[in-house]
Symmetry: D2
Subunit: 341 residues, 4 copies
């Protein structure tokens, strides 16, 4: 924390602030400048936030310095976290490609998609059973029945499965059925769910909320790591900005920045960001080129008949074409996409 | 839904789209314009979103028309919903003033604050027992013990109490202890919690998330109303924009717009929006002037020693001064603040 | 500037950074903390930005401290700047109410509006002659002929006039015709125009751009003051956020913050922010309650027939009703609206 | 335009709106739905915006349908515009790589950079002579002297040159000296400058403003095309969102969308978007992968000593390394980067 004093603050003002800081259990380091004094604060974290001195006379600004993330920080763990899912090591040289329908609808639809995406080179199947929907009047997912379909699809195709948990109850079910448990963007700051994820026996795919800052995303991951689960995969899926041609604004700048300051793997979901099929392939290519550890894409055998997210699902040929493009880009960023044997 | 066709789309393209729309169970109404055709879609809501026709040749844009909110809409219920809390009718001519500490810390602190805010004219006491905090390493609230303190404070002062529930478990406890149950901004789209709120026996104070559109806020309320609880109070508390002088950007424009399209009461929380004490009183005055049904303000006897949100809490004299200002503004918007007898 | 070092940066890294800072002509003040070292930088502004040390090993972050605004800062001039326009002193206890049509269309329309707004209590007439329009195909204003109409309206009503200049050429004309020269939001960072405004003999009304930070707004004003013109009036008119119910998002939080850090007067234009008539009066009331020095509102005798901004213009009775509301709110913020004698 | 009527609007309300629409010179097409009537509006553009009917009883919403861009639209011109600059055809299969210092400082620095970027494969030299700077107190560029240096650099290296014009006066000078004239983000809606650009004899590089919607960007280009200059190159360089790890948020989603709806070439400037060297290469790669027609990057021989934008400039080896990466990605999107012979 740095405290900036007004240019007309006198020595008494500075002394009073330093005393207050010390009373709270921190150390104060005045730095006299040409037009004003700044005061650096260091020391153990006390019970009380040093920001509470903001109200003292002469203080004009507080600038936080220390970053509150610890376990997620690369300063703490310099080497990359690799999250093993089936044959894949997410965060390593092999790109993770997660593909599948927005919602699990039938076994037939799920199997058809799973086989096609596996053939095209995807390593993990996605599919929603518990669907957080903006409207209470739209399809809310098949729930436990959907999980059963995913289990069958995994048995029959060998593809590991990722699906979303939305509350404590669904979490228990998903934990048994899935290989990776997704926490959706709307629940990024649902701390009860994060704590539960921290006690899970499976890796967690944590999606950034549409208003989540980098700090908030890392602190959400920190909840999971602090509760004992180190296998956390981050996922950018668009922020809310003023765009009207994409549902959200995919923020690829966060990819290299996350890779720099955390050891956790970073995926990108261009489908939910774009909300429109036409933009998915260009953004998926861009994500890989920007250095993401993988992508997560919605694929449906007949997008027009999908019960949710019809407008943003790729059909099977479009997904296969995208995979070919990614295969061409991957070497440029020292990555590979291996087709499953 | 309105479908906009490309200027070079031919009659066959238009016919194909109309057929597809009718197959989905809707009616299609072509509107020939000078440079292009648009196609209006009406009819029962089918199982499949008409947006699925977006991929047909010649379609360049889909424009949603129908608004999906029903129970929250003023078209459905023209007269204002009045939510009774103790002596107050929130949504009526009397302004609801909710004040108290960010976190319940001790009985002494809570009682001192409750008495002071009641004396100044507040009608409801706020105080957090279950605190959603960005960091897992900061104070997370006293939990059940905090609820017990609030219960005592209510007994001793007569002030009704609002406090936040963050998951199913805390909801059960809060429902027994509080007069109004708050769903915080981070949980605005936690649909499990919203459904639980819909089965509650107490009014719900639903805060807008920092990225919540007007539609998303109303649909969140719709979850609660659809599940049976009609006593929902909406609360604006700042959106995430690019401001660096306030924690969020208080969006007062939503107040008159909400009052226009929904019958539910609308409050404003300037404390969380601003994040800085200096801005709270001006924004509270502005909220009342803009037509809000009341405000929710953080007040602490000694803000510097607060365990959370120290920088944004008003002290007791500042709150009393604000109440005097609001008392002067209220008549201009045909409102009253009555001091409790 | 504060330089934050990595937790594993050694004494050599710190020394190297301090040396580099000193080479650039600044002083370096290392502050040893528990987990890392921070380095304060003070001293004369050198020709080279100290940020250039960012690339040295061990540096993880740079935090700017000094604020670059000088002449606009309240630290430099603690007392309020009062800008005299006709009988009004903008920035003083009397609220500045600027009202009139978006575009000057005819002398009749302008005179009718001017007389009505003056009768209702407005102190200054607004009206656009040079109109910056998003589309090259829409009405671009009457230009010099519009200025002539404004001149006549001033003669016949005694109301001072504010109108916009959009480039060097129009500036010369506007400077002769108007009492206050407006720099519009789109030109907030048109530095040629700002320098020209700095040489003007009339006060400047500087509108915040829709993406302007507080710093950028003050630096834009700084250009004008630095070039010699101290009579600058700032005006908030909405920022671009994700709202879809108002054209921009009126950011009233900036009003008290600006009043705190600059001595310049601060107005609010709710008409352009809202883009919709229904929101104008509530936001105008809120602006006054938040502490603005005045408001700027679009008024048209027959909004439906307006050549621009039809949807957001108040008609004459609506403006008069708003003035009555403002008259009731003003005393609560120690302001007055005097009807011109 | 589509007019949405309230669910309780009667036949009289609908008739009144239709009459008003027809009076304004448009046609009205009522579309009866299950819960409400919508009214489509078609016909010649009248002098008055049909939005003016918004105030009639029963109208609850207006939805614009027609897009106002014409000359920039791919509906008008389906084939890509190719802008010839020296040997390059921007918009064709060869990627345009524009590189060079933020500001022209000396002939030596400019020549050294020009030679190095040309050797690495860049096709165009960039360098600012007239610099729009946020602060009046920082380096404002060398002006005419800077243009002279660019002219010499072109002579000696054969590289075409792009540099920015900031007002009418500098435009005349830049038009004589440069091969491509840049209109910067801050001037995207400086319509005087856009009209001047429309009369220029050289191609225009038009940067998107940080708050510019797709519509506003296209309408800005429309000003230039409508005034007679068809050689316009669009450039995305970051929007203002809430990011704190990049200066702006690079919005790559706009690239495929622009390519879809306009025939003009689309470049991306990752340097200004990121504001930090570490993010430039990942975002440049992503831009190419997303389908941009080229990139524009800041390069400086000794970034630490740069007079502006020190933190975001690549040094010469970093730029050469980036070019190698782009050379690997280009074929995946059917592009080439040819080293100049």
């Amino acid at each position: 924390m740095l405290i900036v004093m007004a240019s007309d603050a006198g020595p008494d003002d500075v002394r009073r602030v330093c005393d207050a800081v010390r009373e709270l259990g921190y150390e104060a380091h005045p730095i006299p400048g040409r037009t004003r004094v700044a005061i650096g604060i260091t020391g153990n974290q006390g019970p009380i936030d040093p920001a509470s001195v903001a109200a003292l006379p002469g203080v004009i600004e507080l600038i936080p310095v220390t970053r509150p993330y610890k376990l997620t920080s690369r300063e703490m763990q310099p080497e990359d976290t690799l999250v093993r899912v089936g044959q894949l090591e997410i965060g390593g040289p092999q790109l993770a490609v997660i593909a599948g329908p927005c919602s699990v609808e039938t076994l037939g639809q799920t199997l058809e998609t799973a086989r096609a995406v596996a053939a095209a080179g995807a390593g993990i199947l996605r599919g929603g059973a518990f669907k957080p929907r903006t409207s209470p009047y739209t399809f809310q997912g098949l729930g436990a029945e959907g999980l059963e379909i995913l289990r069958r699809a995994r048995e029959l195709t060998g593809l590991p499965v990722v699906t979303e948990a939305v509350d404590g109850e669904s979490f228990d079910l998903v934990e048994r059925a899935a290989d990776v448990i997704q926490i959706g963007a709307r629940n990024m700051q649902n701390y009860s769910l994060l704590r539960r994820a921290g006690r899970a026996s499976k890796p967690i795919l944590l999606k950034r909320s549409v208003s989540g800052t980098l700090l908030e995303l890392l602190m959400a991951a920190e909840y999971i790591l602090a509760a004992g689960n180190r296998d956390v995969i981050l996922c950018e899926r668009g922020i809310r900005a003023f765009s009207d041609y994409s549902r959200y604004t995919l923020d690829l700048s966060i990819v290299p920045e996350l890779k720099r300051i955390t050891h956790l793997p970073v995926l990108v979901d261009p489908s939910h960001a774009a909300g429109r099929r036409e933009l998915v392939a260009p953004l998926a290519r861009a994500a890989v080129a920007a250095g993401a550890d993988g992508i997560m894409v919605e694929v449906h055998p007949t997008p027009r008949a999908a019960l949710s997210d019809a407008a943003q699902s790729l059909d099977l040929p479009a997904f296969a074409a995208l995979m070919d493009e990614l295969r061409a880009i991957a070497p440029a960023v020292r990555r590979v996409i291996e087709v499953r044997a």
